[in-house]
Each structure stands twice: as structure tokens, then as C-alpha cells.
Amino acid sequence: MSPKNENKDLMDRGKKPKAKDLTRDDAVVKNYQSQTEIHSRPGAVEGKDLDVRTIEPPKRKSQWAEVWKRLIKNKAAIAGMIVIVILLLTAIFADFIAPFHYETQDLQNVRMAPNSDNWFGTDNFGRDIFSRVVYGSRISIQVGFIAVGVAMIVGGILGSVSGYYSGRIDNVIMRLMDVLLAIPGILLAIAIAAALGPGLVNVMIAVGIASIPRYARIVRASVLSLRDQEFVEAARAVGANDFRIITKYILPNCMAPIIVQGTLGVAEAILAAAGLSFIGLGIQPPIPEWGAMLSTARIYLRDAWWMSIFPGLAIMFTIFGLNLLGDGLRDALDPRLKG
């Protein structure tokens, strides 16, 4: 368009009636309404013979439905999920599944090999190992999920603050996390558990603290990549404050890596708790914890293999299931990762 070759239509700037000056019957409004009606309700325009048929739009799936679809295609993830569901059911219905209470001793039948009454045999106090393994699932799940939950919340807050504000706060927080990371996780958990003393809650705290830095790092990395996205800028431009931006715009968008790390983290937390119990810093008898059971069984390894095999298998299957599920989730949440 050259300056002289001006377009009359484009340049027309005649006064148009404002919407608020118009009554509902005004022709302009009518015209406008019919236009929008074509957009919103096909075929619903009055007095016009439009051959418009309503077409059902294809059912669109939300992001999570897509993830679910990909997840259930993955056989390994299904296997993992089945294991976890069984574990959860066992923990919930332990009272109905276990034939004996976990503390019931039968000193007449000590260290019995597996038989029809005691499917997994009995231990050195004559307690039914099957019942103890069943009840043990409760402890493991508690420790696993609560420890990871604590680590996720604390690590998430630290990570998002340091990623969002960057600068000095970021430096301070992340160097602290580096210090924690420099100490091997299990060693750190041992140190904390030793300082706090044994017990269920202390184990959770110890394991939780030891895994904070990992979540902090993951969250920080995701926040850093999301912070400069245009939709975050747009949120700022509509007047949202920092807290709202972090909780409503940034964190929901970095859930995928956190969920994956969380699933794998539960497995590690269970393992760490079992390890702590094994060396006597964790859950104390008579509470049936798989690690503690292994620890007791160690002395009788030569003549009562069942005492160690079954709690060991329980730990193994749980970790295996969680890891399969975690891997499956990662593939499902980020299809690009899978070559």
C-alpha cells in the first residue's frame, strides 16, 4: 500500500453506534447477535434457512487421560501397578488377611518351617511370619509415603523459591542442598536417626530430610524453565502476585517430573527405612518392620531361611513394583524420552 493509494474501506473511521447506546431491537445488535449465534449454536438462527447440522465434536481428552492411555499400554507399568495395588490392599485389610496378630507368640512352635498353619513359617518367638509380613506392609507404606511427602513439600518450597527468585536466595538454598547432597543419603539418614533416636516418626524424618535436596533440585530446574514462559509473564500482566504465580501457574506445570521422582522416591524411602531398621536405628520390635525382621533373621540364616527370605521378598517386590510404575509414569508423562 503506497501512501497515495489509500484504501477507502480501511481508512473509514466513521462514527459507529456504541453497544451501550443500542437497544436490543436495534438492527446492528441483531446482526451482531446472529453472527455470534452462528458461532455458538449452529442451526439455531431464527428465520434463516441454513443447512447446518450439528456435528458432535470428537471427544477430546484431557492431558491426564492421555497419560493414562499411554500408561496402560505399558505392560511393565501395569505389572508394577498391580503389585502396588496388592500392597495397598494388604495394608488396608491386614486385619482380615493375617491369620494371627503380629505380636502373638507361640513358644511351642519356634522357628517352624513353612507349613499349612504358618504359610511363611514362624520366627524365633513362634510368631507367624506371614502375619508379620502382612502387617509390615502398613509400616513400609507409611514410612514410604510420609517421608516422601515431607521431602516433596519441603524440597518443593525450597526449590520453587530458589528457582523463581534466583539471585542470592537461590545461591544460599542451593549451596545448602549441595552440602546435604555431598553426604551419602543413607549415611545422612543414619546420622539423623542416631541423633533423634529410633522410632517410626524419627525414621520418617530422617529419610525425609535425606531426600529433600533431590526434590529441591528437580523443582528448581522446572521452575527455572517455566519462569520466563509467556504465560507466566501474562499472569504477571493481569496483576497476579508471586505466590499465586508459583502455586497456580508454575507448580502445576512441573508436576510430571515431581510425580516420577516421587514414585521412585517412595521405593528408596522404604528401602532406606528398612536399612535403618536393619541396623537397629529404625522401627523397634515388636512392630513388624520388614528391615527389622531381616535383621533378627540374620542370626538364624543357617537354619531358618524362611525368616529372612519372606520379608526380603516383600521388600524386593514392593521396590520392584514402585520402580516399574515410576519408569512407566516417566515414559507416559514425557513420550519424547522414549526413543
Partner: protein
Amino acid sequence: MAKDLLKVKDLSIQYNTDEGVVKAVDNMTFEIGVGETIGIVGETGAGKTTTALGIMQLVPSPPGQIVQGEIFFKGEDLLKKKEEEMRKIRGNKISMIFQDPMTSLNPVMTTEDQVAEVILLHQEVSQKEALEKARDMIETVGIPRERGKEYPHQFSGGMRQRIVIAIALSCNPELLIADEPTTALDVTIQAQVLKLMKRLKDEFETSMIMITHDLGVVANICDKVAIMYTGYVVEYAKVRDLFENPLHPYTQGLFGSIPNVEEDEKRLNPIKGLMPDPTEIPEGCPFNPRCPKAMDICRKVLPDRVEVEEGHFVNCHLYPAEEYKK
């Protein structure tokens, strides 16, 4: 013209980078009346977006820094406002439409929630009322209200930009800053979105700053236009004046590079050369190395703003101030 809604005076914004200081906006002055639309036109990197962010007080800092200037919005200097007060203005009195509708919506929130979010932030209404208003707003921009329950990825680009417009207009702002709202859209959708914006602007009596590099868009909806080059406004005039009588060689070059439909042209007629490195802006008039009419003085002295005819300002030595003084 009615009272000025926004008055920007001598605004300078710079970025302090490792390579040196980049003057993104230098001595920018313009004003917008109620219901008026001003177009800001320029090449990529001319400082258009930075101007917009400056008005919103959203210049990323560091490295960005507002060096000097005043931005009067309804008589109050925005630069002196506290962050908290600014937050109440953003989205409420002044709102912004971003360039790329693909990335300016939160992918994990339903669209109606995102529209309702702004309403909730600035108006004292319940969650339910806000959602209801949001759905009305979605309908106003021509999307069926039931689709508000869907996520941004289920929308096409043009529809997303409509949602962005719905968000921007949902609190009935007095000033709308549109940062290249149609650049990421294809031509037919561009026309639709522009038509929609124009209609809503008239309906809500909103003033608008239209940032674009499309002179066609300017002709279509702007009242005034400012041509920017390397952070400077080189020409500032009413649209009709500028299109009929472009004064600055850069503006003339811009018009010259648009092919004439009536003549048989084989090649485009671009402005020769490239925009200078933002850290090494040439001395004198920044346009002098590319200017076909460059004189000696252009290489030494930065031209002042001269009012050649009423409301038509140009910064160029071809129009010496003495000649046009009244």
C-alpha cells in the same frame, strides 16, 4: 481530543548486558486520549515491546532499567507506584495482549478458569460469579460458553488469541496494550481477530496501544502512529497524515518496501542495510548509515523533535527546527 489517558514523557529504558548498555527505548514521548488507538511500528528490536513492558512496569530487572521519564496514567505517575499498587492496575486498568497465543495461556488451567482468575483478582465477587462472568466474556469474543471447560491445547491459535483478548478485557480496562496480537496468526484469522478487537474496543471505550510491524494493521485500526527505529521515535503523527505524507526517510522507506499492486514490480524495494548492533548505535541520527538522504550533520548530531504540521512530529535534519517554528 478528550483528556489524555496516558502520557509518556521522555521515557528511556536500557538493558545493562555483558556486551554493553543497550538503549532499548530512548526519550520516548507520546500520549493517548480516551478511546484512542495509537500504533507503535518498527522493526524487530526497535524497542516496541520494551515500551509496553515499561508502561506495565514489567521490564525484567536486572538487566532492564528505566533510566528516566514519566508515565502519567490518569494524572498519576506509574513509575512512582509501589509494586502492590501496580498489581492492582495491571489487568484491571491496563491490560496486555501478548504476541504468541500458543504460549501465553497456562496449559494446565481450563480457559474459563483463566478468565475468571483475572476477575477474581480485581473484583470482589464469589468464585461462582467470576466463572459466570468469565463464560459471558468467552461468549462475547465469539466462542461458545460450554467450551470454557476445555484446556488451551484443545483450541486453535485464533481461538486462543480470543481467549487472551477475553482475559485482557474481562475487567473492562481503560487501556489495552496489544503486543503484536496478530503476528502469530494466519491472515484470515488476523482479520477476524482485528475485527473483534476493534469491535470490543468501541464497545468498551478502551484506549489501545497497538504494537505491530504491519502498516496495514495500523491503517485499519489506529488513530495515531509512532514509527520507532533503534529505540527512537522517528516520526509521530495522525494515521492519515502519516500515510498521506510520510516525512522521515525511514518511514518513506517502509512505505517504499510495500509492493504496489497496480504496477508490475519484479523485486521488492527494501531499505538498504541492516539495523545496527544495539550496543553500537551510530553517532548522530541512528538511521544515517542507511539513509539515502544522509547529510554531514546527520553523522554528528542527533536530530530533535520538530512539529512540521499540527500533530505531526518528525526527528530528522531534513526538517530543521528553525523553518517550522511558528
